[in-house]
């Protein structure tokens, strides 16, 4: 397994897109931290960019990468290797390189300018989000044979998680405004890893007061250390579940 991860990693790290992504993150985060006199405010601006860019790049890059390595998969599937090993190696290689790119591009500036608990949570969330969207992309690519269709679905998934989901939640909130939905919102937010990360970071920043009563409820749930643990578990579940489903599917896939 290590050997295959090595080859996947070498292949990806040679890729210029990966380099561009790292440099882009580095430029954005450095310039934001240098523009704002208060680095906590810088972190907030960075948050919004990261929550949009990281999932998009992760899901698109990994979907395209998996489709482009169809030959590689085919070649290795006829060799004495377990299918599961093969698939998990691809996943680890892609997820590892994307997490590394995030760490170098955004993690190092965060550690330099804002090495506070908030900064650490942001770093953790960024890395987890990178890996989660690789996992989601793996599930999408294993289900869909056609490359164009698969990449389209990957874009739609990103759109869903970063825009449509929030719209849907808003819609529900307004429709059922007469009912006490505050506690249900906690459950709903677990259904979207991007929202969950946003809430986690915002709560750490102590601006939850701006979110009104729901913010107080969120603070009650996620602000505690057990809440943090639970949301960490949910984020991990967001990695494991799609990956597990994709492995099951790949084991029986005709190459």
């Amino acid at each position: 397994m290590k050997k295959i991860i090595k080859y996947v990693m070498i292949d990806i790290l040679r890729n210029k897109i990966m380099l561009a992504y790292t440099v882009f993150l580095l430029l954005i985060s450095l310039s934001i931290f240098n523009l704002e006199d208060n680095s906590a405010k810088g972190l907030l601006s960075l948050l919004n960019i990261i929550l949009i860019v990281v999932p998009l790049v992760s899901i698109l890059f990994s979907a395209i990468y998996v489709y482009n390595s169809a030959e590689f998969l085919e070649l290795l599937a006829s060799q004495p290797l377990k299918r599961r090993t093969l698939w998990l190696s691809i996943f680890s290689g892609v997820a590892g390189s994307l997490a590394l790119a995030f760490f170098v591009g955004a993690g190092i500036p965060i550690l330099l300018y804002e090495a506070t608990p908030t900064g650490f949570i942001m770093l953790g969330c960024g890395i987890l989000l990178s890996v989660i969207f690789v996992s989601v992309a793996m599930l999408a690519t294993v289900k869909i044979r056609d490359k164009a269709k698969g990449i389209g679905v990957a874009i739609l998934l990103w759109l869903y998680f970063s825009l449509l989901f929030d719209g849907l939640v808003m819609f529900l909130l307004f429709q059922f405004a007469d009912y006490p939905l505050d506690k249900a919102m906690v459950g709903v937010s677990l259904l979207n890893p991007i929202d969950l990360s946003r809430i986690l970071i915002l709560l750490k920043m102590d601006i939850s007061a701006m979110m009104g009563y729901t913010g107080a409820i969120f603070k009650n749930y996620f602000g505690t250390s057990s809440g943090l643990l639970l949301s960490g578990m949910v984020l991990l579940l967001w990695i494991v579940m799609p990956l597990w489903l994709s492995v099951r599917k790949f084991n029986r896939k005709d190459l």
């Binding site: 085919e74 896939k253 190459l255």
Partner: protein, 237 residues
């Protein structure tokens, strides 16, 4: 060595394999013959586990291949269309395969690498290669690890006559070492000197599996191509 029992596979509406049962033993050289789309490649791919069959099972050395993967260490596979990571060079591919598949005390069989003069092309990227050179890489990889079973899907398609002859010589040497060789080809004349048995497939069904001597005796034809032609004629009547 390889036993397929009642293997069926359906792609959508198309029945690629329909209740196919074959037994292949050590030391045999088996020709898989049939028209285009008769399920030859699908049969090969199910043996390799690249296609999972809907019904039936395949055993390799008395072990079901379904949840096994180590058996592929005994197989050298040359695909019909070799597809390789486009931005790797020949040298990198060879090194990667040696790295992934080989172990220290394995004797590598680099005859074909040398005879095809692949050593001079090691730095070339796969996407720049011609179809024939790709075939050479596929062939070299199939023979590289000295496997007990060789599965060759259209081995000489796209090769120049000299290289095709080298490959045929190599197949004959391996056959004399007592290996099982499964080969598909549409050029029946070149199978004449190789094969000991013939499997004929049509529309995903196994039509017959015969010893070549029996086949020759039954049809009264010495040449494989004529023997097959007369069998096909008889069947269509």
């Amino acid at each position: 060595m390889i036993i397929a029992s009642n293997v069926s596979k359906q792609f959508g509406k198309l029945k690629a394999l329909d209740n196919v049962s074959v037994t292949c033993n050590k030391g045999e050289c088996i020709a898989l013959i049939g028209p285009n789309g008769s399920g030859k490649t699908t049969l090969i791919k199910t043996i390799l586990g690249m296609v999972v069959c809907d019904n039936g099972f395949i055993t390799f050395n008395e072990k079901n291949i379904l949840h096994d993967w180590q058996y592929r260490a005994n197989i050298g596979y040359m695909p019909q269309i070799g597809r390789y990571p486009e931005n790797m060079s020949i040298g990198q591919i060879l090194d990667m395969m040696k790295d992934i598949r080989g172990n220290k005390n394995q004797i590598l069989d680099e005859d074909l690498v040398q005879q095809f003069k692949l050593n001079d092309l090691l730095h070339k990227r796969m996407r720049t290669l011609s179809g024939g050179t790709r075939q050479k890489v596929s062939a070299a990889l199939a023979f590289l690890f000295n496997p007990d079973v060789l599965i060759l899907d259209e081995p000489t398609a796209g090769l120049d006559p000299v290289s095709a002859e080298i490959l045929k010589e190599k197949i004959i040497t391996e056959k004399t070492k007592g290996k099982l060789i499964l080969v598909t080809s549409h050029i029946l004349s070149e199978l004449d000197e190789l094969v000991t048995q013939v499997i004929y497939m049509q529309d995903g069904r196994l039509q017959f599996h015969k010893n070549i001597a029996t086949l020759r005796a039954e049809t009264g034809q010495e040449k494989l191509s004529k023997a097959i032609a007369s069998v096909m004629l008889k069947m269509s009547l």
